[in-house]
């Protein structure tokens, strides 16, 4: 109906509909009728006024309805088990300490580096903190390998995390969607290609960091067998991969889970393990269909649960 209208005419028509209660057809006709007669300066003014009005309206609307939270009485889904959340928590904690006691060494000429290191007990104690955190990271790595090998849930989750050709297709479609080439968003299962990338990036990071870190931890022992340049490679790789991993976490991971406009400022799923049905439908439609189709749930599938009072 409104296809033949210009942007301004459409905006006016919409305003006539909402503010003056006209039906769509009348509003469109009136809008088309009145706008050509407006001087360019006046139409600019109208447009700006409308924008301000609409913005105010949107703000009110947003304040009234919390975004992306379970509507009262709405279903929630248990996306991450306690086991997985604990793995994530231990890893996050150890990585935070590793970054705090590690990156200052890479940027040792900055004043803030000195302050952070002295916070961790100075150059004699902070290496111990780094090694304790590293031990935690190694432990959580082993824990995870046992989890994906020895538990039903872990095995099924791992299978869902394996890269498939569909991920490349999804990524391509997502880019096309970003660029406005398609209105159809890719329909993800439990793990989108973004989440799979995060998962496998951790493997790469763990191999490089734990491997090179072990060489640096036991330099004297390694030098009994290997030449000095071997430990030099370990040092360079440890330092460079540390920066890459930190940037990937802080920029990429934090944006995707917390800082994007749909989740800002924080997504609580890493604590509660739950997501709302609305989020489930938007972000994991394929999984949602599978779960709600009545077919028996797999060990890795998110389970519908009653909303918790405490969890918002």
């Amino acid at each position: 109906m409104t296809d033949h209208l210009t942007t301004l005419e459409r905006a006016v028509a919409e305003e006539l509909q909402t503010a003056h209660g006209l039906d769509a057809e009348t509003a469109a006709r009136r809008a088309a009728d009145m706008t050509p007669r407006l001087s360019p300066r006046f139409s600019t003014w109208v447009r700006r006024e409308l924008t301000i009005l609409q913005r105010r309206e949107r703000r009110r609307h947003r304040a009234e309805t919390p975004r992306h939270r379970a509507t009262p009485g709405g279903r929630e889904f248990q996306r991450f088990s306690l086991n997985v959340r604990l793995q994530h928590a231990v890893m996050a904690l150890s990585v935070i300490f590793l970054i705090l006691t590690g990156l200052p060494l890479k940027f040792s000429d900055l004043g803030v580096s000195k302050a952070i290191i002295s916070l961790f007990g100075g150059p004699d104690v902070s290496p111990i903190v780094h090694r304790v955190a590293a031990s935690l990271l190694i432990a959580v790595g082993i824990w995870h390998l046992v989890y994906i090998a020895a538990t039903r849930e872990g095995r099924a989750t791992f299978l869902l995390l394996l890269p498939r050709p569909q991920d490349a297709k999804d990524a391509w479609q997502q880019i096309r969607y970003f660029l406005g080439r398609t209105e159809q968003r890719p329909r993800f299962d439990k793990f989108s290609y973004v989440e799979k990338f995060d998962y496998w990036a951790v493997y790469w990071g763990m191999v490089i960091m734990i491997g090179s870190g072990t060489v640096l931890w036991f330099t004297n022992q390694f030098l009994k067998v290997f030449p000095k340049w071997f430990t030099d490679i370990a040092k360079e790789a440890h330092s460079d991969e540390a920066l890459l991993a930190t940037l990937a976490i802080v920029v990429w991971h934090f944006y995707n889970v917390h800082f994007n406009p749909h989740k800002f400022p924080m997504n609580r799923t890493f604590i509660t393990g739950r997501i709302s049905e609305q989020e489930m439908m938007e972000e994991h439609p394929r999984e949602w269909e599978r779960i709600t189709s009545g077919a028996p749930l797999g060990p890795a599938d998110s389970r519908p649960v009653e909303p918790q009072g405490g969890a918002q």
Partner: protein, 363 residues
């Protein structure tokens, strides 16, 4: 005598308040006119046998005195405790501070750093009663004081090693055969460091003290005065900046963060016996690396593997060998990964913001 009185008058006239040092006090009336010191001290054979049997010459070379900066002064201007002839057998040590204090009226150089000296290891030992610790005249000379810039001065950079070496014999021996010593003393290269270039002049502190210019925490900074400059390093065939590259090793980082346990420049290169790694006598010669790294408290049991690789690595330079390629790999990986992820984030952000807006204002 006339001059001394003149000096005292001038000092009084200049105002007592402006004098931090002890002003030259008017000498008590002399029993004799002390003008004739040369009658005894002018003779080279004038000697004294001390109770312990050592023979001390009491000859004052008037020629030496005449070419010194103090040529215009009389003996009693410095030896102020001589008030009669013959004078007591042992005179007090001359106090240079009689004239060399800020605001002194006789035009004596004021930049003399007494405070530094008093706090220095030499001054402290001297005050503690160690007669072997040097006072001013031990380094600057007694009767033959010359400006440090004077080539004949005892503290001229070319002479300083010998002057310090009178006490620090072993250090002198090490220094003279080191790259620095050979360059300065044999080749006469004034760019090469003399003792004071690293240790400072009057305020010399033991290396164990943090404030010392050669303490573990300050030595990289001290060495970087010369070796921190690329042109300087290139002039002496050092292709990398040794201080900057040190700063990026674990040794250098811990040093920067205040660790005194970790290796600093001198730990590997030694303090005085510094030689290029190509020299077989050098502690950083590949053949000597195991012994150098294997020092007690460092890497006990170090073997030849410690020498198999480069030192002072600059990962951004092709000279770094394999480290250059590792660093390049990670540089490319980091930049390309973050570019891709960043682009994805920007596209996602734009779409999400548009989407929110799109509900009301359509473009």
């Amino acid at each position: 005598m006339k001059r001394l009185t003149l000096l005292a008058t001038a000092a009084l006239a200049s105002g007592a308040a402006a004098q931090p040092g002890p002003a030259p006090t008017p000498a008590p009336p002399l029993a004799v006119e002390v003008r004739q010191c040369g009658i005894c001290h002018g003779r080279p054979e004038f000697k004294q046998v001390d109770p312990d049997g050592t023979v001390r010459t009491l000859w004052v070379d008037e020629g030496q005195l005449a070419t010194s900066v103090h040529a215009k002064w009389h003996c009693i201007d410095c030896h102020a405790d001589v008030d009669r002839i013959p004078h007591p057998p042992r005179l007090a040590l001359v106090n240079c501070q009689r004239c060399h204090f800020p605001g002194n009226p006789v035009g004596a150089p004021e930049e003399v750093n007494y405070e530094g000296y008093v706090k220095s290891v030499h001054g402290r030992l001297r005050q503690a009663g160690n007669a072997k610790a040097p006072a001013c005249q031990d380094c600057h000379g007694g009767h033959g004081v010359r400006k440090p810039s004077d080539a004949a001065s005892l503290v001229h950079p070319l002479h300083l090693p010998q002057t310090c070496g009178r006490c620090h014999v072993r250090v002198f021996a090490e220094y003279t055969t080191s790259a620095h010593g050979v360059s300065l003393l044999e080749k006469g290269n004034r760019e090469a460091p003399s003792c004071s270039s690293c240790h400072g002049e009057h305020g010399i502190l033991p290396p164990k003290e943090n404030a010392s210019a050669v303490s573990a925490t300050h030595i990289p900074e001290t060495c970087s005065n010369c070796h921190g400059m690329t042109e300087f390093n290139l002039r002496y065939g050092i292709p990398i900046n040794p201080v900057r590259t040190f700063r990026h090793t674990f040794h250098g980082i811990a040093n920067e963060l205040g660790s005194v346990r970790v290796a600093n420049c001198a730990s590997c290169h030694t303090a005085h016996n510094i030689l290029p790694a190509t020299d077989p006598r050098s502690t950083v010669n590949p053949a000597n690396i195991p012994a150098t790294c294997g020092k007690v408290g460092c890497h006990p049991g170090a073997n030849a593997n410690y020498a198999r690789g480069r030192f002072h690595i600059d990962p951004s330079s092709r000279d770094a060998g394999i480290i250059y390629w590792v660093a390049l790999f990670f540089k490319i990986l980091t930049v390309s990964t973050l570019a891709a992820l960043g682009a994805h984030i920007v596209l996602d952000l734009v779409k999400k913001l548009r989407h929110r807006q799109g509900a009301t204002v359509r473009d």
